[in-house]
């Protein structure tokens, strides 16, 4: 009974369920576009046409100063932007989960040390540090993803740790230990699955902030000139006069793509997060 009531959902959520499809829908169409870029893109993004064309039938979103077709740039750019966001998030999620699980499960000295390191990493001004490092090194998107991954695991480590602390006090963890399962088995088969639902939404948010950061750092011109991301496109529009001259078709589409895709991630994270809020127990 208590279990059934714990699972209570308001009737209204059925209506909300339709809204909640919007996030995954946007998300998957962007992923699809990135994967099928070669098929759906009207032109080669590096092919040159007449520059500064307004949007029209020939070029749905116009062309830029080099005469590149903006729509094609946009579709191919999604590959870079998404790849940076996801690889940074995968790296940081792996690190954060490992640190959080380890610290929370073994407690003691390991916990103190790992959490001390986490606290220090939390204090690093991340974007300024990436800017400084990128200024010294040859600009590259992979470097950016790597740095973000190495800097952004802290939030997740904290969340996973506190969830692990809860889970390890539950009967089934102590029970599994008493039965004689190894620590490895307990961590990966009992503890980890029970932390997944705090990891999943946080993962989405990490992808989101990595993409915003990528766009910001590219905006400063710290990106690989041989590749184009959404951030790079805005950067060029800004530094090469597209913005000053009011060529909205040049910088508006990549900016909107970032916003909309990030929005879909945040919406999905919201749905995943709400699931873990327990409704009021009535009995």
């Amino acid at each position: 009974m208590a279990e059934v009531i714990r699972a209570l959902r308001s009737a209204e959520e059925k209506i909300r369920a339709r809204w909640s499809l919007l996030g995954p829908l946007i998300f998957s169409s962007f992923i699809l576009a990135a994967l099928l870029a070669d098929l759906i893109s009207p032109y080669d993004p590096w092919k040159r046409f007449n520059p500064y064309q307004m949007p029209g039938w020939e070029h749905l979103l116009g062309t830029n100063d080099m005469g590149h077709d903006i729509l094609s740039e946009l579709i191919f750019g999604s590959r870079v932007s998404l790849a940076v966001g996801f690889s940074a998030a995968i790296l940081s999620a792996t690190l954060g989960t490992a640190v959080g699980l380890f610290a929370g499960y073994f407690r003691g000295m390991a916990d103190e040390v790992l959490m001390g390191i986490t606290d220090i990493f939390l204090m690093i001004p991340q974007i300024p540090l990436i800017i400084v490092l990128a200024a010294f090194l040859r600009p590259s998107f992979w470097l950016m993803a790597l740095l973000m991954g190495l800097l952004w695991w802290t939030a997740l480590a904290r969340i996973v740790r506190s969830r692990t602390l809860q889970v390890r006090e539950m009967g089934f963890v102590a029970g599994a230990k008493a039965i004689g399962f190894s620590d490895n088995h307990v961590i990966f088969s009992d503890v980890l699955p029970n932390t997944l639902y705090v990891i999943a939404p946080k993962f989405m948010l990490t992808v989101a902030s990595a993409m915003i950061a990528e766009a910001s750092i590219s905006f400063l011109g710290l990106s690989d000139p041989s590749m184009k991301s959404w951030g790079t496109m805005i950067s060029y529009a800004f530094s090469r006069g597209g913005f000053i001259n009011g060529m909205w078709w040049w910088y508006l589409p990549p900016g909107l793509c970032i916003t909309v895709f990030v929005l879909s991630l945040v919406m999905m994270a919201g749905i995943l997060e709400e699931r873990d809020i327990e409704p009021v127990k009535v009995d």
Partner: protein, 313 residues
């Protein structure tokens, strides 16, 4: 407990600033260039003299000690591009940045927590849903893109606001006129982050038993929110806002660039273009110090307002 935290901040400060010391020395390329910036052309003699001055010949630990000594003397190095000490460059720029950041963070905190709390409390109402959608959009947009949009529509198209810079005549009214749009964007940006955190926090707190007990005591909806839930929900915000400070501050740098303001953002932007490393490193050190101070302040405030922490001491 508080002293333990302060010690952690001290360690963090030491390590991050040391990292700043290590970066130019560990990066590929000539260390001297890394320390001085690229595209600096000097005569042989001047080069040698500089080498001695910067101290790259000395053993690393001496360099390290000198680095810290200089830092305590507020000496952040010398920009060979701008021909000025980095610390005075930053001092000159940072007040303009603070003029943008300080009011925005304060207003953003008020607006964000207040509206976020109401939205979390009445989250089913159409009005708060609309509001949440609005803040969500801002939350999901890179701040510089937001600035570009605002500047394009309100500046170019409607002509309500000047397009660049801080002031033309230097009167207060003029400065305010120039500052209005960037401060607005910055406030919305920082408010959107606080809004999301506060809304989530209230949604969690409203499930707590004390909230239903307050209702059972016969309190009205507003009384439950503002007398009971708000304080509990806002407490974690103090820490989160401080942790967010670095991110918000970085956002301000980008906003400055778009609005061509004479602050730290453009200092960084310009020094990136000509790889003026001393300036980049100096700004990084200053931002680090500010972030750490913000967090220290937050911890102290937290200790003052939360009775549970206050009594543990």
């Amino acid at each position: 407990m508080l002293w333990g935290k302060t010690a952690r901040y001290a360690i963090a400060f030491f390590l991050i600033i040391s990292l700043n010391f290590a970066i130019p020395r560990a990066m590929p390329g000539d260390t001297l260039t890394n320390l001085m910036g690229e595209d600096v052309h000097l005569s042989e003699d001047a080069m040698l003299e500089l080498k001695a001055k910067v101290g790259v010949d000395q053993p690393i630990h001496i360099q390290f000690l000198n680095y810290w000594r200089d830092l305590f003397h507020l000496d952040l190095g010398y920009s060979y591009h701008l021909h000025a000490p980095v610390s005075s460059l930053i001092r000159e720029r940072i007040k303009w940045t603070m003029l943008l950041v300080a009011p925005s963070i304060i207003m953003g905190a008020f607006v964000g927590t207040l509206l976020g709390a109401l939205a979390g409390w009445r989250r089913k109402e159409a009005k708060s849903r609309l509001q949440t959608t609005g803040f969500l959009l801002i939350y999901c947009t890179p701040p510089y893109f937001l600035s570009m949009l605002a500047l394009y529509f309100l500046g170019f198209e409607l002509g309500w606001f000047p397009l660049k810079g801080f002031y033309q005549s230097g009167t207060i009214g003029d400065i305010a006129h120039h500052l209005f749009l960037p401060v607005l964007i910055m406030t919305l940006f920082s408010a959107s982050r606080n809004y999301m955190i506060m809304r989530g926090s209230v949604i969690q707190e409203r499930q707590m038993l004390y909230a239903s007990y307050a209702r059972a005591k016969g309190l009205s909806s507003d009384q439950i929110l503002f007398r009971h839930i708000f304080k509990n929900a806002a407490l974690p915000i103090i820490t989160l806002v401080a942790l967010d400070f670095g991110f918000i501050f970085s956002g301000a740098l980008f906003i400055e660039i778009v609005f061509s303001m004479h602050g730290m953002g453009n200092l960084i932007y310009d020094s990136l273009l000509c790889r003026d490393y001393p300036v980049l490193q100096g700004t990084f050190a200053v931002i680090t110090i500010m972030v750490i101070l913000a967090n220290l302040l937050a911890d102290w405030t937290y200790g003052l307002v939360d009775p549970r922490v206050r009594w543990q001491r």
